[in-house]
């Protein structure tokens, strides 16, 4: 069974329809990169997947949970979905360690001691073992984003959603964050990544999805999408992005 099933997803803000009927299935261990021009609805789509945006119409089933079903406990669903934001959204009043352990301890997933140990492991994985007691504001953007990834992983999610994770970073910080994400992908994590990093998409994605005007225009293996684009919209987009 597929991890994520999206059927006929619509989302409107007043008269403005942002998503116009999306269909997508993501399998276990699959890495899907979503590309497309700004305003095409990529981020909105991603935020619908953990109910930060409530769809106007359509169905989303994640790991067997139907989000449109009123009986679904959304908090339980979210525990299984990690999300990484463009602007990190670390909790500025808590240390790096506290940021990571807050949710597991509050939700009684782990004791304080176990959570601390897990957090140290995760910080090692993202290369920030020495920053456990630092406050978020003392870290660089790239470091903050890696803490944010560790924070999401602390809940041991089955799926990770990345919403333009490197867009707010200085260029020299991007590599570190992408490396962490590559490690995750190599470890078999199911990932949906909204990104403008075409190199990353080409190298890591199992599938690339191109979105424009609130619809999926084209999708396929990275080689097909990047080297043999079929639709004129995608050709036009790739021309603009690659020939910057």
């Amino acid at each position: 069974m597929a991890k994520v099933i999206v059927k006929d997803l619509h989302k409107s803000y007043g008269d403005n329809e942002v998503l116009k009927g999306l269909n997508l299935e993501v399998e276990d261990n699959e890495v899907v990169c979503m590309i497309g021009p700004s305003g095409s609805g990529k981020s909105t789509f991603l935020r619908c997947l953990n109910d930060l945006e409530v769809p106007t119409k359509g169905q989303i089933v994640i790991s067997g949970y139907d989000l449109s079903d009123k009986g679904t406990n959304i908090n339980l669903v979210r525990e299984n979905i990690g999300m990484v934001f463009q602007h990190f959204n670390l909790f500025p009043h808590l240390t790096v360690m506290q940021n990571i352990t807050l949710a597991p301890v509050q939700l009684k997933k782990e004791s304080k001691e176990t959570a601390d140990a897990t957090a140290h492991e995760l910080l090692k994985t993202v290369g920030l073992a020495d920053k456990a007691d630092a406050m978020p504001n003392s870290l660089s953007g790239g470091q903050q984003q890696r803490v944010a990834i560790a924070r999401a992983l602390a809940m041991k999610p089955k799926i990770m959603l990345f919403d333009e994770p490197t867009s707010a970073l200085d260029p020299e910080m991007v590599g570190d964050v992408l490396d962490v994400m590559k490690k995750l992908a190599a470890g078999g994590m199911t990932m949906i990544v909204v990104t403008h990093e075409m190199g990353f998409a080409k190298e890591v994605a199992d599938r690339v999805v191109f979105m424009a005007d609130g619809l999926i225009q084209e999708s396929g293996k990275p080689d097909d999408v990047f080297d043999h684009p079929k639709s004129p919209r995608l050709q036009d987009f790739l021309n603009k992005v690659i020939n910057v």
Binding site: N50, L76, R78, E79, F91, H93, L102, A103
Partner: protein
């Protein structure tokens, strides 16, 4: 239940028992209201006890007739309002018997007959009513002097300015803002004898009777006893003794103050206990109100940022109502209007009424900035917390509130200082806090400048201490 829930329940239960206690305990004895600053009929002597012709007559009559009573000294206007609202059983406050008042009150036999005189500043050239043309006349609301002056206002073409308090009225004339004031003869003559720099320039007009009042149709028994007692003390010579004592003696022998100690320090040490109890009342009111207002403000603030429409709607409505109402109007409404509305002899003690007033008003202001503080926390914080699977209230408590409260700290400090100062407004419902203490002391010794300076310094000292404390807390939190 969580700790904070237990605390809220306990506060409510305490308030509830206060109400219950207040309404049963006061039923056994009569509550008689009097004015605070109407020497020689009533004034506060050194040490905070009330003295005066009214007080002594009431006391003598009560002894003769075996009446148990509790004296409640508030402003004249509040006393009259409370009598008509059934908050007190009787009023003795140098109150003139007038046809209008007879419609709402039943009066005893006259216990004193007095006329109205006009007084002007010592150096004033005003000699008769004719000289008042185009000038301003100071009056005290609800007095016979005010009624008389109003009746000749158009004839002599002067303007009228009202005061709630005799001393402010005298002072306005003394400094020259008003050309003259109209006052009952014994009151004016007593004041002048005790150092008010005014002089009486007219004969007595409109001789009027002073009577003890009860609400129309109520407390007939009390009125009957008062009349009988009055007859008795007139017969045995006690009455004459009391009146002579106040109208034919100098102030110092009555208030216990020596004329030599009129220096700043002397006044301060002499009135230390009175000022101290006023200060204590102010601090008590401030601390309790700050706690209650903070609880209320936090609730309003959280309601204001809750998802959905109901919470924010309730929050903004409450903030709108109580922030929009002047504190004084709110105090009068809760103390006098609200019990009137409920009826059945329901009473709210002044302290409780004052506390509720401050809680609602300061709580509304607090609610507004608490809401603002929560809203100032970036939306991404809530999204990040929720995306980790934290329920709304956990996210609120662990992520939004700690950040919001940090933003609010300067507003909290500001609000604490405002609350402290706002307690002074509660003197209108008869709470004897620091400001009212000042009014009372001045009513006795007429040392306006020194006493107000003293009161102002005390406020500044407390506010300075409060600011230091707050800054210390703020440093600790950061």
């Amino acid at each position: 239940m969580k700790k904070w829930q237990v605390a809220v329940v306990m506060v409510l239960a305490t308030l509830g028992s206060w109400f219950a206690f207040a309404s049963t305990a006061q039923a056994k004895t009569y509550t008689i209201a009097t004015d605070t600053t109407f020497a020689p009929f009533e004034f506060q002597a050194k040490g905070g006890k009330y003295k005066g012709i009214d007080i002594d007559i009431l006391n003598a009559i009560a002894k003769k007739e075996n009446i148990k009573y509790k004296l409640k000294a508030i402003s004249f206007g509040a006393a009259v309002q409370q009598l008509s609202a059934n908050q007190v059983d009787g009023v003795i406050a140098g109150m003139n018997v007038t046809p209008e008042r007879k419609q709402t009150f039943d009066f005893s036999d006259a216990y004193y007959t007095s006329g109205v005189v006009m007084a002007v500043a010592k150096g004033s050239s005003v000699k008769s009513f004719k000289d008042l043309k185009g000038k301003t006349v100071a009056l005290k609301t609800g007095t016979a002097g005010a009624t008389y002056a109003k009746s000749i206002e158009s004839k002599y073409g002067f303007k009228i300015k009202y005061f709630n308090d005799s001393n402010n009225m005298y002072n306005d004339v003394k400094v020259g803002n008003s050309a003259a004031c109209f006052e009952d003869y014994p009151v004016m003559s007593y004041g002048i004898k005790n150092g008010i720099a005014l002089k009486i320039v007219s004969k007595q007009y409109e001789a009027g009777d002073y009577g003890f009042a009860v609400k129309k149709g109520k407390n007939a028994e009390l009125l009957k006893k008062f009349n009988a007692g009055l007859k008795a003390i007139k017969a045995d010579g006690q009455y004459k003794k009391i009146v002579d004592k106040y109208l034919h003696s100098s102030e110092s022998s009555l208030t216990g103050e020596t004329a030599s100690s009129r220096t700043f320090v002397g006044l301060f040490t002499q009135n230390l206990s009175t000022i101290g109890s006023g200060l204590w009342m102010t601090l008590e009111l401030t601390v309790i109100s700050i706690i209650l207002a903070t609880i209320m403000g936090m609730i309003l603030g959280v309601l204001g940022v809750m998802p959905g429409k109901l919470g924010p709607a309730i929050s903004s409505t409450i903030i709108y109502i109580f922030r929009g109402m002047p504190l004084m109007v709110l105090a009068f409404f809760i103390y006098i209007g609200f019990p009137d509305l409920i009826g059945h002899g329901f009473k709210i003690p002044a302290f409780i009424a004052g506390m509720i007033t401050l809680m609602l008003n300061e709580g509304a202001y607090t609610g507004a900035f608490v809401k603002g503080g929560f809203q100032a926390v970036d939306d991404g914080q809530m999204e990040a917390a929720r995306s980790l699977g934290l329920p709304y209230w956990t996210a609120m408590r662990k992520v939004i509130m700690p950040q919001g409260i940090r933003i609010m700290i300067p507003s909290f400090i500001n609000q604490f200082i405002i609350t402290l100062k706002d307690t002074s407004i509660l003197s209108v419902i008869g709470i004897v806090e620091l400001t009212q203490t000042g009014t009372l002391i001045i009513a006795r010794n007429f040392e306006g400048f020194k006493i107000w300076l003293m009161i102002a310094i005390i406020y500044l000292v407390i506010i300075t201490l409060l600011t230091w404390l707050s800054n210390w807390v703020q440093r600790r939190m950061n």
